[in-house]
Symmetry: none
């Protein structure tokens, strides 16, 4: 099908509005600005920035215009109150004072809520919808209506739910958005109901706003599109109230790559935009200060990862029959995990990725595989700690300079009552390090033994100190591998540096402090290697 025959599908992002309802999420004005720019760069059609007038952050954010290249800056608000003229409604006034180019107004479309929550008649509610839409249009702004509880309302009183949608459309709303506010509607119901709605309001003016309460937000969005809706509302990484909103990061690749959609529809996004998707998703988690979901569809670190050795060799030979899309299309990559189930082909693929060239029949390959298997048997987890794997491989196949040598460390944890009779806990570590021929001894305090050790270790690395100044321990995970007194402890350390790079290292020991120490040492060594620190 030629490109100009494809129908246009619009992407509406509500990360900054409905996404801000996520428990634990609070955006600052600056964060809103960064995320809005990211969304515009990605290529969504609408960026709903918040509810100006409702809180100071949103009012300030809407007091200037983000200067979008492609997206339409959209404000959220409520239809005017019954009994007031649109011109005298303070809520609408706040929206009109903002720099928004489009206004999305929420309106009740379930007669039960019109009665119980608003306490007005069905007719008054329809009037409020019509007059609010007209007022927005008269200001030269793009009007849209979010029909709240549309699907539950339709199930209870289809005529009235439809009347609300029609009132919005007939008075000039560019979009009438059907909201599954409680998130309990299933895909077949969505498809059936939207199929009825398009008989009254053209699909080119219908949007879908789905929530994930039954794990169907993405499927419900596509069900509505199949039935005729042409706007999808969603959020980055599916954040949102309760179980979240429809995840645009999962929807976008399906729309752009899967033939059933890509051949029928076009969005405002190019294939180049799509290539930035993994980065956008991870960057957004960065802003939220949370670890990205490794299992996230399309963009997760594990989305194209294979653990089973039997599959691995086949995947390398014929990736297209084992992968539903080409990972690079969404800015992701294939990962063949090095694990106890691994074979040589997993290993080769991984070595190739880190830039180590080895022939398939190189005997060192077999030795490396044996070493990996032996170490995984005692608890190392190289699939999770790719940097520790890389260092191990480089040591066996090439060489890694011994930048520094830790001669000894000592960690003391104490709990006692102080002179005032208060309980105090203290952790202190001393580390003795040799760089070239110089020996340094450093001491550090921390809120626990590992923290104290980390502080002491990175206090003075002599000439290497400038290389590790921006190194940061961002997370560590502890796993006890086999319970009881003979327990082995595995520590996974996540590090980051000033350039936003993140990497994982692993240490294993019956002693948690020692395991942490190994992982910390690997992390520092990798940082020095990566940044081209000179060998001693």
């Amino acid at each position: 099908m030629s490109e100009d025959k494809r129908e246009r599908l619009y992407l509406f992002d509500t990360t900054l509005r409905d996404g801000a309802q996520t428990s634990g999420v609070d955006f600052s004005v600056e964060e809103k600005a960064v995320i809005a720019r990211m969304l515009d760069d990605l290529g969504v059609d609408y960026v709903e920035g918040g509810y100006p007038g409702a809180n100071p952050v949103d009012t300030e954010f809407f007091s200037s215009c983000p200067g979008f290249k492609r997206a339409t800056f959209t404000a959220f608000g409520m239809t005017k109150r019954a009994g007031r003229s649109a011109a005298n409604d303070p809520g609408l006034a706040g929206l009109f004072d903002s720099k928004a180019k489009a206004i999305c107004l929420v309106a009740k479309s379930w007669d039960y809520h019109v009665d119980v929550a608003l306490g007005i008649t069905n007719e008054e509610n329809l009037e409020s919808i019509s007059e609010s839409v007209t007022a927005v249009a008269e200001r030269g702004l793009e009007p849209m209506i979010d029909c709240e509880h549309f699907f539950d309302g339709y199930k209870s009183n289809p005529e009235y739910a439809l009347a609300c949608a029609k009132a919005a459309y007939d008075s000039g709303a560019r979009w009438v958005v059907l909201c599954d506010t409680n998130g309990g509607t299933l895909p077949d119901e969505v498809e059936a109901i939207v199929t009825e709605v398009v008989k009254h309001v053209p699909g080119t003016h219908l949007g879908i706003h789905a929530h994930n309460d039954t794990e169907h937000a993405v499927a419900n969005s596509l069900a509505a599109v199949r039935a005729g809706a042409r706007q999808i509302q969603g959020t980055l990484n599916g954040i949102g109230e309760r179980c979240g909103n429809a995840n645009l990061v999962s929807l976008i690749p399906t729309l752009l790559l899967k033939p059933g959609y890509a051949e029928r529809f076009e969005t405002g996004m190019t294939t180049e935009d799509l290539g930035s998707l993994s980065h956008v998703s991870h960057n957004f988690d960065e802003i939220l200060n949370r670890a990205p979901d490794r299992q996230a569809p399309y963009v997760g670190d594990s989305a194209f990862a294979t653990k089973a050795g039997i599959h691995a060799s086949a995947i390398l030979k014929e990736p297209e029959t084992y992968e539903h899309i080409v990972p690079e299309c969404v800015g992701n990559r294939r990962r063949v995990l090095v694990s106890d189930q691994a074979g040589k082909s997993n290993l080769l693929a991984e070595l190739q990725r880190v830039g180590l060239k080895v022939e398939k029949d190189d005997p060192r390959l077999g030795r490396l595989l044996d070493e990996v298997k032996e170490r995984e048997a005692i608890g190392y987890a190289y699939e999770a700690a790719d940097v520790s794997f890389e260092l191990l491989a480089r040591r066996m196949l090439d060489s890694v300079p011994e930048f520094f040598r830790v001669e000894s460390f000592r960690v003391l944890v104490e709990r006692r009552y102080n002179a005032l009779g208060n309980l105090v806990t203290a952790s202190e570590a001393t580390v003795k390090v040799t760089v070239d021929d110089e020996t340094m001894i450093s001491v550090g305090e921390g809120n626990g033994p590992v923290n104290a050790l980390d502080v002491a270790l990175r206090k003075d690395l002599g000439k290497y100190q400038p290389y590790i100044d921006d190194l940061e321990l961002v997370d560590f995970k502890v796993r006890i591998l086999n319970g009881g007194t003979s327990a082995t402890t595995r520590v996974l350390v996540e590090s980051a540096d000033g350039e936003g790079r993140r990497w994982f290292t692993v240490g294993v020991s019956p002693n948690i402090v020692d395991a942490s120490f190994q992982a910390l040492i690997d992390s520092v060594t990798y940082k020095l290697l990566r940044d081209g620190a000179p060998a001693p």
Copy 2:
């Protein structure tokens, strides 16, 4: 519709087999046993425990029978190799040696893979399917076939994919499972393809095995059911290779509560089983040592949480119009920013369970609830550590004797090179304890700081020593609650005694040694209390 008119839908859990492909997940034999029991208690029909013969853990797990109340213990394997008789196939032999009651064999159903991956003819593959099924049936075991790459195979060569399914069914397979191995198939395609398949194999013999690569594993499973399939394969919390398998924890409530399914189908689960779902989901994450997803559909902590002030009071007044299901049906609860009654009734039930009688309007109940909420907010997990909860409650509502008092402890961890130039690590702890008016100081060595502390603490408790001689620390789990430098550490300790009793205690601190110490103290105190040790 009366209950007996409903069709039976079967739930097949593959957490222990396909779920074990999750990157970072490795089950021990003991963990497999615990999870299998949990699944049987939940009420799934099949528990696929792994691939006996493929690795030592699975072989050992299948060497004894879990003694299920309801579930069928199922082993995974491969159809026999072409050119070998089923009787001489070592893979099948390993399965027959196991204690499994049902055998699920994976078979290629995409002609391309039959050629490229297996290197055999299409006919040979069909024969292998038929003969393998027959061999399983002849042993008196329930045979099923997983048709690998079924949907991709069907799109490329529908006749051959169907021939594979038919070969399995015709030779007596109880279930022919259609697998979306690459996870790229969309719900409308699944529904259309399964609709064709049921024309050749009855839906009562068809299963669906979906992956979440486009965030449609749940929707795809239901699409297949709508088209006629009557077995669903999935995993707890949707774990699995790449983006995971279909999430049974999301599917089960939809099947049991949503009229479109609940009125048409019945499963092996009762509404009482459903009430344990949130607990099962959280407990499983505990075993995986990871934080439960707060936004998980149905069972997440945020699944029925409301942040918006405007909604909150309306929800309390009319919850049924704001919540798609009643949270308690799945063992979850509503969370709003108002202190709610649900908390108190949970608490009362829990107190009753441990034998503490309190009246509903006792003011101490409110204080205990506040204390529990405050402590859970900083990281304590009383759901997992029932004994720490019991001690807290007894201290506030009754009293717990202070059998002993730890005046101070000190733990030293050292790593250095000894006189021979070998690296040695040592952990040593000293503990000063007062019992009655006697003060004792003990020292212990261990393979890590917590072990050393445990040894020192239990070395000399004076007159209480006989009570704790049979006390044993059997497991401890460490969780870092909020990454980075301000991390809080939660330690869960599992203890056991000579009578085979097991109990859990919890400690929270930025310092892992201190957190472990708290949990150890709770454990020792509980043991003394339980065994009726005299107060000092």
